[in-house]
């Protein structure tokens, strides 16, 4: 099992830091899957954490100038690591304005992801900061727990409004209630609703647009005004929104009535999928 990679381009380094900050906001611990073409940050929260799951994917060649890896075996050419996501984002903090960033899988009494940052310096001698991030190597037999989540057929797919507005609305709603109803239809309307003994609040977004339907899509026969609704834990949604520092290239919300909300974001070339299960 071997892994080493290098980033030299400042823009790539910034982008990678942003991704790692976002992951740190979304999941306390996450699984990093390394394969010859891709890096994945995975969260498979079984019921304990409320059942939220996340799948973030980036193409290694868009970030790394050097990338070598050797998985557990030739036919299973991948590495699965579990790490505290904040450790990675903290290590990358020192990498701002760095000349190069190297990431390596090492064994220093225990397995580590060694992040070494070569800082810019005025003199000829170079300065290098090294972080060893402890991690757990996930054995082959547990890999099946970290499969890419299957995306069920959505009843309604709709583009999300500006995330800043959405975040502010959800933040205020969280002060009042723990549960939130998300509903949307194929007319480009999205509503957020909370209801308590004291107050009912509904925010209506309109003209959001729906992505074109696939030809075999079941929702083709759906009445465009009919709402699909999902009740969710408001904190899960807020956690997702709080993690979004920059407006994504594309943000899509897929609702599966009474089952789940699937948020599908594209940041340039990084794709993030976030699944919030419905409350029963």
């Amino acid at each position: 099992m071997k892994f080493r990679a290098k980033i030299v381009d400042a823009a790539c380094l910034n982008h990678f830091t942003r991704v790692s900050n976002m992951i740190a906001k979304l999941a306390k611990t996450c699984t990093l899957r390394i394969s010859p073409e891709k890096l994945n940050f995975i969260l498979c929260d079984r019921l304990v954490g409320g059942g939220v799951s996340m799948w973030c994917e980036l193409e290694q060649e868009n970030f790394f100038s050097e990338f070598q890896m050797e998985g557990v075996s030739a036919e299973n050419n991948a590495i699965y690591l579990e790490l505290t996501s904040e450790n990675l984002s903290r290590a990358l903090k020192t990498a701002q304005n760095a000349r190069t960033l190297k990431i390596k899988l090492t064994n220093k009494h225990f397995p580590c992801l060694t992040v070494s940052v070569e800082l810019l310096s005025m003199s000829t001698s170079s300065r290098i900061v090294t972080h060893d991030i402890p991690l757990k190597v996930i054995p082959r037999k547990l890999w099946k727990d970290f499969q890419q989540p299957s995306v069920p057929d959505a009843d309604v797919s709709i583009y999300l409004p500006v995330l800043k507005t959405l975040k502010s609305v959800v933040e205020k709603m969280k002060n009042i209630s723990n549960h939130l109803v998300i509903e949307a239809n194929l007319n480009g309307e999205l509503n957020l609703k909370i209801e308590t003994d004291l107050v009912c609040v509904t925010t209506h977004f309109k003209d959001l647009g729906n992505p074109p339907l696939a030809s075999d899509d079941a929702s083709r026969d759906r009445d465009p005004a009919e709402m699909a609704e999902v009740h969710v834990d408001i904190r899960k949604l807020l956690q997702f929104l709080a993690g979004q520092q920059v407006n994504p290239t594309r943000a899509l919300c897929n609702l599966v009535s009474s089952r789940m909300v699937h948020l599908d974001l594209l940041h340039e070339d990084v794709c993030l999928q976030y699944f919030i299960p419905a409350l029963s």
Binding site: V169, K172, V199
Partner: protein
């Protein structure tokens, strides 16, 4: 704001109170200044809205938002009274964020049908509409401090910045704030008696911050610091403050607050003195 202004006369007829505002912050900011208790009583007449918050039967804060602050203000009865959860009201008013993006305003339309009905809020920002239905509660009798101008012993008008620092740095280990107002030195003195010793802050009568000073008789009163501290919220927003005490030692603080449209609103604090009035210090 087409969404909020397209209302037929019929629709307005069912409400005993309708108030519209282009910029919700002109309303919410003033309410924030008195938000030290969960519940507030709203008292509306054709002159405007008065929102009252009380604590421990010793302190009362009133925020006045005159009818002119609103673009539309309709009151169908002589007065409309209800009690409401102020925390929820403020969360609803700032649903689109407390610091909006520059150039965007949140418009508000507020309607109330009458006793037993919820307060309806329609908020709009950039085409996004939020509708809030806040249940109202049985109005409760509010305190009457019976603070009348004829009994006023001393009156000071200060520019707020003069009091701001003093109030934000009050020694909270002191149980009371002692206010001395006298026609001679030290004129106007704020004192605390905390764990680390006493502190006195004097304002000379002729300093630049002092806009008016009227006092014929020395008066020393103590007020619970925990009751006065919440008024700091109004103080930081205000440009001027009037400080008055009456023959019974009751304190009135009146804050003048200029909203984003340049209109003036007032927030009043009344506080009763702490029971054992000390001997005046030399």
């Amino acid at each position: 704001m087409p969404l909020l202004t397209q209302h037929t006369q019929d629709e307005n007829d069912q409400y005993c109170l309708v108030a519209s505002l282009d910029n919700v912050r002109n309303f919410s900011t003033i309410l924030k200044a008195i938000h030290f208790q969960e519940h507030a009583t709203c008292f509306t007449t054709k002159n405007g809205i008065k929102v009252t918050v009380e604590n421990a039967k010793c302190v009362q804060a009133n925020a006045f938002i005159q009818a002119e602050v609103f673009q539309e203000f309709l009151v169908r009865e002589e007065s409309v009274i209800f009690r409401i959860n102020l925390t929820v009201l403020l969360d609803c008013l700032s649903i689109f964020g407390s610091n909006p993006m520059p150039g965007t305003l949140t418009a508000l339309r507020m309607c109330y049908q009458g006793y037993g009905h919820p307060l309806m809020l329609f908020l709009e920002e950039g085409g996004v509409v939020t509708i809030c239905k806040i249940n109202t509660q049985e109005p409760q009798e509010t305190l009457d401090f019976d603070f009348c101008t004829t009994n006023v012993i001393s009156k000071i008008i200060l520019q707020s910045e003069g009091l701001r620092e003093a109030f934000s740095e009050l020694d909270m280990t002191s149980e009371v704030l002692q206010i001395t107002i006298s026609p001679d030195k030290p004129y106007f003195r704020l004192s605390t008696f905390g764990n680390a010793g006493s502190s006195h802050l004097d304002y000379p009568k002729d300093c630049d911050l002092m806009e008016a000073f009227h006092c014929n008789q020395t008066q020393v009163n103590r007020y619970k610091i925990s009751l006065l501290k919440p008024s700091t919220k109004a103080l930081v927003l205000s440009c001027k403050v009037s400080i008055r005490t009456d023959t019974r030692g009751f304190l009135s603080l009146q804050y003048m607050i200029r909203n984003e449209d340049g209109r003036v609103c007032f927030v009043d604090y009344y506080c009763s003195p702490d029971e054992d009035i000390p001997e005046p210090e030399s």
